[in-house]
């Protein structure tokens, strides 16, 4: 039985899992610079390691109704794969822990942590769609 490390985050009442390999850093709610005319998923721009970083609302990206107007924690993550991957900030309500999730459960795109359902985020495909 193989397991993969995932970062569990909280989106309102729900919990989502991001693959730990794609996550580069977890930071506190960065200083946001709102972008005029930006789409619903784009919250604004922030500065990360001396470079501008686009901050997206993960709840909106996942099509969930719950969204926080001002995400408390930003997860700096690689979206997409290969050469097309890019570094973005995903706004979440909180980062919970790094947990090893069962691969068979992940195949269904859904897993249980502590009896609660977890939304597993596919960062590679999410980056393509974006």
């Amino acid at each position: 039985m193989t397991t993969t490390p995932y970062l569990l985050v909280r989106l309102g009442e729900r919990i989502a899992a991001l693959p730990a390999a794609a996550v580069r850093r977890v930071v506190r709610g960065a200083r946001l610079h709102p972008l005029p005319g930006a789409g619903p998923g784009l919250v604004g721009l922030a500065e990360f390691a001396g470079e501008p970083l686009a901050i997206l609302d993960l709840a909106q990206l996942l099509g969930l109704e719950e969204r926080s107007s001002r995400p408390a924690v930003t997860v700096v993550t690689w979206l997409g794969s290969g050469d097309e991957r890019e570094l973005v900030g995903l706004g979440v309500d909180d980062a919970i822990e790094v947990a090893e999730l069962d691969a068979s459960a992940l195949a269904l795109g859904q897993a249980l942590v502590g009896g609660r359902p977890v939304v597993v985020v596919d960062t590679e495909s999410l980056g393509v769609e974006a």
């Binding site: 390999a21 977890v26 506190r28 980062a95």
Partner: protein, 542 residues
């Protein structure tokens, strides 16, 4: 003869000094009567007149008894007749009999009779005056006694009222004194109350100060709890940072693969620690929030308490003011009560003086009333004596308008001696009695009865007729055989007078004058009687 002469000489020798003695007596009485005429004591005049009359009578009696031993027996018999008439007081008859004596004797007897008649008439006049005056005195003193008795009663009532007043004043004084005591007690209680209120004010002030202190401390606590919140915020931030750091460490560890596994465990422990710190901060935060809320409630309650204390303080101050006013008015009340008490005491002493004066006055009036009653009784006796005197004077029959006997005898003579009856009634009797009763104002009632006491005719004075109709009617049906005047009149050849008694008609004293009407043989056929009102008779006489 010599024996007779001797006897005569002997009797003369006895009669002469007696006659002289009686003459002196008469002359003395006469002189005293004359001397006292100017005096204001009719009773004295009467007594002196009576003395003179008695003296004169005795003189005549002794003088004539000396002469009676004269051998001329006819003369002697006539003289005895004259004396008998004189002895009976019938001066008219005596004068008539004296005319048959020889000239000297007749003249002497006539002079004596005339002198006696004059005295008797004067006696009658004086006795009328005495009776009238005595009656006036009696009436006056009776009225005075009655009014002084009323005065005594009134003085008694006034005294009782004053005593009541005095008692009431004493009670008022006592009440005022008691009120004063009450006011003094109330004042001391008021003072204690004022002290208590002042203490209360002080206590409430202290409470207010404590409340202000508590408020300040609560504010300080609020400030401290806010500082604690800031510190908690800081701890929470640090915990969050630690948590994120542990996550990042865990991510680095997972990137390191198998080599980072031990590091991941440490990162997990750090994360759990940060989590516990966050939980602790949340717990402390909620406790501090409860604490802050309690402090806020305390501040609010304390502020309410402060307001309440301020209000109580205000009320206590108002109570202090009210107590002050109350005490002032209590002092005034006490002063007023003291004044009332003092004035009432003065009044009581004045009332006592008035009362003692009134008691003396009451005693004086009572004494006066008793004296007046005595005077009334004495004057009543005096009146009776006056009436007796008048009666005594009326026992003489003389040719004088003042002689009731003569008057009544004249009236009786007008009654026919041989009666003619018409239908059982004595013809002319009623008419005669009507006329006589109306003619003489002093007659209250008159009646004519037969010798058996049957009433033949009767009538009352015109002013009494209205009230005495029944009494007259009753009298007509009665038999008067038991009346003293009837018996006396039947026995006597002259008019008789009875002592005064109260009239059934007017209630005033009356004397009864009665005389029998006799036929040619001297047999009584009827008795004429009049009730003579003494007062009216006296007034007319006066």
């Amino acid at each position: 003869m010599s024996r007779a002469t001797g006897r005569r000489t002997e009797s003369q020798s006895l009669a002469l000094p007696a006659a002289v003695y009686a003459g002196v007596w008469a002359a003395g009485g006469w002189l005293l009567a004359g001397a006292s005429r100017g005096a204001d004591a009719p009773i004295l005049q009467v007594i002196f007149h009576l003395a003179a009359i008695a003296g004169a009578g005795l003189f005549l009696a002794f003088d004539l008894s000396a002469r009676a031993s004269d051998p001329a027996s006819g003369l002697r018999a006539r003289l005895i007749g004259v004396f008998r008439q004189l002895g009976d007081g019938d001066l008219i008859r005596a004068a008539e009999l004296a005319r048959a004596l020889d000239a000297d004797l007749a003249a002497g007897v006539a002079r004596a009779v005339a002198g006696l008649a004059t005295r008797v008439e004067q006696l009658q006049v004086s006795s009328h005056s005495v009776a009238g005056a005595a009656e006036g005195v009696e009436r006056g003193s009776t009225v005075l006694a009655a009014s002084s008795a009323q005065q005594a009663a009134a003085a008694g009532e006034v005294t009782a009222a004053m005593e009541e007043l005095s008692r009431t004043a004493a009670e008022i004084s006592e009440h005022a004194e008691r009120q004063n005591q009450l006011v003094i007690t109330a004042e001391s209680e008021g003072a204690a109350g004022a002290e208590a209120v002042a203490e209360a004010v002080e206590g409430v002030g202290a409470v207010e100060r404590r409340i202000a202190d508590v408020t300040t401390r609560a504010d300080t606590l609020g400030t401290r709890s806010r500082e604690i919140f800031r510190v908690l915020e800081l701890i929470s931030d640090i915990a969050q940072e630690t948590h994120l750091l542990s996550l990042n460490a865990a991510l680095e560890a997972s990137a390191a693969g198998g080599r980072g596994r031990r590091f991941a465990v440490v990162a997990g422990e750090v994360r759990v620690l940060a989590e516990r710190v966050r939980d602790s901060v949340a717990s402390v935060r909620s406790q501090i929030e409860e604490f802050a809320s309690a402090i806020r409630s305390t501040v609010v309650a304390t502020e309410e308490g402060g307001k309440e204390a301020a209000r109580v303080l205000e009320e206590a101050r108002a109570a202090t003011g009210a107590l002050g006013i109350l005490r002032a008015s209590l002092r005034e009340s006490s002063e007023a009560a003291r004044q009332i008490s003092s004035v009432t005491r003065q009044q009581t002493s004045a009332t006592e003086e008035v009362l003692s004066t009134l008691r003396e006055l009451h005693q004086v009036v009572e004494r006066m009333s008793r004296d007046l009653s005595q005077l009334s009784a004495t004057s009543g006796r005096l009146r009776i004596i006056g009436l007796d005197l008048e009666l005594l004077a009326q026992t003489f029959r003389l040719d004088s308008p003042r002689s009731l006997k003569r008057l009544v005898q004249e009236w009786a003579q007008r009654l026919p001696a041989s009666p003619t009856t018409a239908g059982g009634a004595w013809a002319g009797a009623q008419e005669l009695i009507d006329e006589l009763v109306d003619a003489a104002a002093f007659v209250e009632c008159g009646c004519i009865v037969d010798p058996k006491g049957k009433v033949l005719a009767t009538q009352a004075a015109s002013e009494l007729r209205a009230t005495t109709t029944e009494a007259l009617h009753d009298l007509r049906k009665r038999n008067l055989a038991d009346r003293p005047w009837l018996k006396k009149a039947l026995e006597s050849s002259r008019a008789v007078v009875t002592p005064p008694e109260r009239s059934v008609m007017s209630g005033e004293p009356c004397i009864m004058v009665a005389v029998a009407r006799r036929d040619a043989e001297g047999k009584p056929v009827a008795v004429v009687e009049f009730d003579v009102n003494v007062r009216h008779w006296t007034e007319i006489g006066g």
